[in-house]
């Protein structure tokens, strides 16, 4: 009986983490899937959200900035706003240029943010991170606290999904597709491409911060190395590419699927003898990387291929061999 209860709790945690990653993947989907923007610093925006919300909600502590004890609604909103402002600044510099530059700059901003977290000890407690972060529903009895938290995340995903689907089918979404596929003709149609790109980039980064806020409260702790910045950025990319970029359901499915594989494989390898367990951890990362490469080459459309929002009067890709959808 105990064992079943353990499995039950494990599945809940799997779904919760998968759900948080789904929010990240949806954020990346706005940027990459719909608009063709390469964000290589997901972990940075994620961390921004986590720290902002953590600092705003924790009880006073001598170790770090805090003691505001604000309600979650405020802290979550603040997390998203701060991340959005930073994204706007990065976008101002890079969105004019080709995607490569944005990728470099986002990797950079994530790294800078990590430096700040490590060095500004007065605010962040440095490498030791912020702990004792409150968690929604934590006062409820044992399985219900976890279940309610999971319910909250799933509800948020549903809301985001519906919003994104509406946006995708709106004129805004169609302009996005046009920009991604043929910048010149979109420009000729008098669209301010940079503005649309900026909207997508900022919106995506705000979702990433939201996911960050969730993880801080879920784990009740956040530190600069809580997750290796690259591995987590990378996982989100794999999730989106495997699930199917430019498809919101693909992003969600990819997140749950890859998180399950990632987490289950960790359980398997952790049973190995210590020395071997540490080494096989690297093999897991390697294999995830390989999975990405295989999908890119063999199944570039992912599990759920893109579904066009309403037919437009433009020639669609009919041969389907090369995916022109990714010209930026």
């Amino acid at each position: 009986m105990d064992q079943f209860y353990g499995i039950f709790l494990y599945i809940i945690s799997l779904l919760t983490m998968g759900g948080i990653y789904a929010i990240l993947a949806l954020g990346l989907n706005i940027q990459w899937g719909f608009t063709g923007l390469f964000n290589a610093g997901i972990a940075g925006f994620f961390a921004i959200g986590a720290y902002v919300s953590a600092i705003l909600t924790t009880a006073p502590s001598l170790r770090h900035l805090g003691g505001y004890e604000l309600p979650y609604v405020v802290s979550f909103a603040a997390a998203m706003v701060v991340s959005g402002i930073i994204a706007w600044a990065v976008g101002k510099v890079c969105l004019k240029l080709r995607a490569d530059y944005l990728a470099i700059a986002t990797i950079g901003i994530a790294e800078i943010f990590r430096l700040i977290l490590k060095n500004e000890t007065w605010a962040t407690n440095g490498p030791r991170g912020v702990s004792m972060i409150p968690k929604p529903f934590e006062t409820l009895p044992e399985p219900w606290n976890h279940l309610c938290f999971l319910g909250l995340i799933l509800a948020v995903i549903v809301v985001i999904y519906l919003l994104l689907e509406t946006a995708r089918n709106s004129p805004w979404g169609r302009v996005m597709t046009a920009i991604r596929e043929n910048e010149k003709s979109a420009m000729a149609a008098g669209k301010d491409i940079e503005k649309f790109r900026m909207e997508a980039f900022v919106a995506g980064c705000m979702l990433m911060a939201l996911a960050g806020a969730f993880i801080a409260h879920y784990l009740k702790f956040i530190g600069p190395n809580a997750t290796d910045p690259l591995t987590s950025t990378f996982l989100v990319w794999v999730m989106l590419v495997v699930g199917g970029s430019a498809n919101n359901r693909g992003a969600i499915l990819g997140a749950f699927l890859m998180w399950t594989i990632w987490s289950a494989s960790e359980i398997l390898t952790s049973r190995l003898p210590d020395e071997l367990a540490i080494r096989t951890a690297y093999i897991r990362i390697f294999l995830i990387g390989l999975a990405l490469q295989i999908f890119l080459q063999r199944f570039p459309k992912g599990i759920f291929p893109e579904v066009r929002p309403k037919p437009e009067r433009r020639q669609s890709v009919s041969d389907g061999v090369t995916d022109n959808a990714t010209s930026r």
């Binding site: 020639q315 890709v317 009919s318 022109n324």
Partner: protein, 244 residues
């Protein structure tokens, strides 16, 4: 003029194709016989450049054949086409601007394994301004001189046929005359030339034959002289009225 015992050098046979899914050429045919200068004229966007790119395997052809000396070279990748002795001067970005003039010509000889020095000297004789500026970055030259670099670069291989896409576009009348003179000189050495031109009158004067392309289809064809005389062609492309 064309010599019927000799084989046609280059032939486009009912070419259909375009970029991606957009079809631009709807059955274009033309040929170049040994020793000829053939000119393609037509309005902007008619598909003149596209027809040239078709020879070079830069297009998705959905129909038709390209033949070189009778051999089928349809959809052959560009570097192979060069190996077969077809050289091409595109309409735009036809030089390597950061390389010196001499380096540009050297690149033109990339596929050669023998000593290209003698050929280099020959070309410097045909294009004297280039000899002077051989050490200068090609991007710093004037428009006319760049065009010379582009042509000289394409001729490093002693090609079997030379394709020129609007070699005189945007040039002053002085340079225009010079380029046409060079085209004639090169042709006199036995190299057939297929050339797209906007300066139709001047071009048709030196041409053996010409094609008029409109909306991706052959509209007229004939000897340079006939096209110059043709009232309809004259009205459309030669600035109105019959030629003097």
């Amino acid at each position: 003029m064309s010599n019927s015992e000799l084989q046609t050098v280059l032939e486009l046979d009912q070419i259909i194709g375009g970029y991606g899914d957009t079809q631009i050429l709807h059955g274009v045919s033309m040929r170049v016989d040994p020793g000829e200068i053939v000119v393609i004229i037509g309005p902007n966007g008619a598909g003149k450049s596209t027809a040239m790119k078709a020879v070079f395997g830069l297009l998705n052809l959905s129909g038709g054949k390209v033949r070189l000396n009778g051999e089928d070279i349809t959809n052959m990748p560009p570097d192979q086409v060069v190996h077969h002795g077809v050289c091409y001067v595109p309409q735009t970005s036809n030089i390597f601007p950061s390389l010196t003039v001499e380096e540009n010509l050297e690149m033109g000889a990339f596929v050669r394994t023998d000593d290209f020095r003698p050929r280099l000297q020959e070309l410097y004789d045909i294009f004297p301004p280039l000899a002077e500026k051989r050490r200068q970055a090609a991007g710093t030259l004037s428009g006319g001189q760049r065009q010379m670099v582009a042509m000289a670069k394409a001729m490093m291989l002693e090609p079997q046929i030379l394709l020129l896409d609007e070699p005189t576009a945007g040039l002053s009348p002085k340079y225009r005359g010079e380029i046409f003179a060079i085209v004639k000189t090169v042709n006199a050495t036995g190299t057939p030339i297929l050339m797209v031109e906007q300066n139709a009158k001047q071009a048709l004067k030196i041409a053996n034959r010409g094609y008029v392309l409109v909306d991706g289809k052959n509209k007229f064809e004939g000897s340079g002289h006939d096209l110059l005389e043709d009232a309809e062609v004259a009205e459309m492309f030669l600035g109105g009225g019959a030629p003097p």
